[in-house]
Amino acid sequence: MIAYLLAALIAACPSAAAAQTIMTGAHGPDWIAIAMFALIVIATLVITYCSAGKTRSKADFYSAGNAITPVQNGLAIAGDFLSAAAFLGISALVYANGFDGLLYALGFLTGWPIVLFLMSERMRNLGSYTFADAAAFRLDRTPIRLVAATGSLVVVLFYLIAQMIGAGKVIELLFGVNYLFAVASVGVLMILYVTVGGMQATTWVQITKAALLLCGGTLLASPYCGISISASPNCSPQPVRFIQKARRFLRLAACSPNRYRRFRWGSRWCSERQVSHTS
């Protein structure tokens, strides 16, 4: 109950602070976005609260009592994969660097099956949960655990920085709150999900995230693939122009490096003109 009150308090905090600053925002508050955000935060906190009640033992906390099905786990991993860094960062990288940015998306993706091919069978044979367990079985235990822990912490640290900046920036934009406050509140919310709910809550929050991002991503990508989703006539020109622009960017990134560099650093007007020359 205390945890629930705490959660409600933290969820309420950004909006309370936002209420003061939001009026001074240049664009005015985007109430639909704020409502969606609040809804998702509340929904995930309810999930956390519900699974916190179910967590009774250490196995429940760390491995959700072995009650997660492969499909659920797959969706949760997809939720991990489709992070703020992947969703916003890769879009930005492709936007800024064309095909070079696309390599990041592919690198992410092709890395996973290699881990599966090389590690999964050994881990399953040993019944271990982590790569470190499997490696420690054959090699010297302490150094392997040190290497594995250092590796994970270094990766997590850099990954976390990108995620926190992404989430902090979104909240700053959405609520008009101070950036530092936005980052801190996101961090507190994340810690809450994991410490209160354990693996069960984390998995369900990730599944929710995966479902939302997959739907949103499909919706955004469908006009590119030629599927019309325009709801009203005054809504359609926007996505069409966006898609045309995105295509131009990809094509431009493929052009000669000189023109590409000029484009990157040149003014918008210049670049637009060059694009119309090249295409």
Binding site: G98, F99, D100, L102, L103, A105, L106, G107, L109, T110, W112, P113, I114, L116, F117, L118, E121, R247, L250, R251, L252, A253, A254, C255, S256, P257
Partner: protein
């Protein structure tokens, strides 16, 4: 839990069926890893050498060739994963179960 003695270990290692299981597993594991690496680094090489060609549209649509290739790589990698999972769940599990039955008693 079966007891593991040096004798029994030698017996299992000498078994032809175990040898076949280990060999075909290793072959699948390394084969698929190498194919995945070739796909990724092939695309990498293509981007660094033939960027202009990748910008051209696929005939009959306005999708750039590079994007179409990237999507192909994604689909292929997903198919490889499916193949691996299918293979280890059917053939290898079958072999391992047979071995367990013979040696586990």
């Amino acid at each position: 839990m079966l007891s593991v003695t040096p004798d029994r270990t030698r017996q299992v290692l000498a078994d032809p069926e175990f040898g076949e299981l280990a060999l075909s597993r290793a072959r699948l594991r390394w084969g698929l890893s190498i194919v995945t690496l070739i796909l990724f680094f092939g695309f990498f090489a293509l981007i660094s050498t033939a960027k202009g060609a990748l910008g051209a549209n696929v005939a009959g649509s306005d999708m750039p060739l590079g994007l179409a290739l990237a999507l192909t790589v994604i689909v292929l990698v997903v198919l490889l994963t499916g193949f691996y999972v299918q293979r280890s769940n059917s053939r290898f599990d079958e072999l391992a179960r047979g071995l367990n039955r013979r040696f586990g008693q």
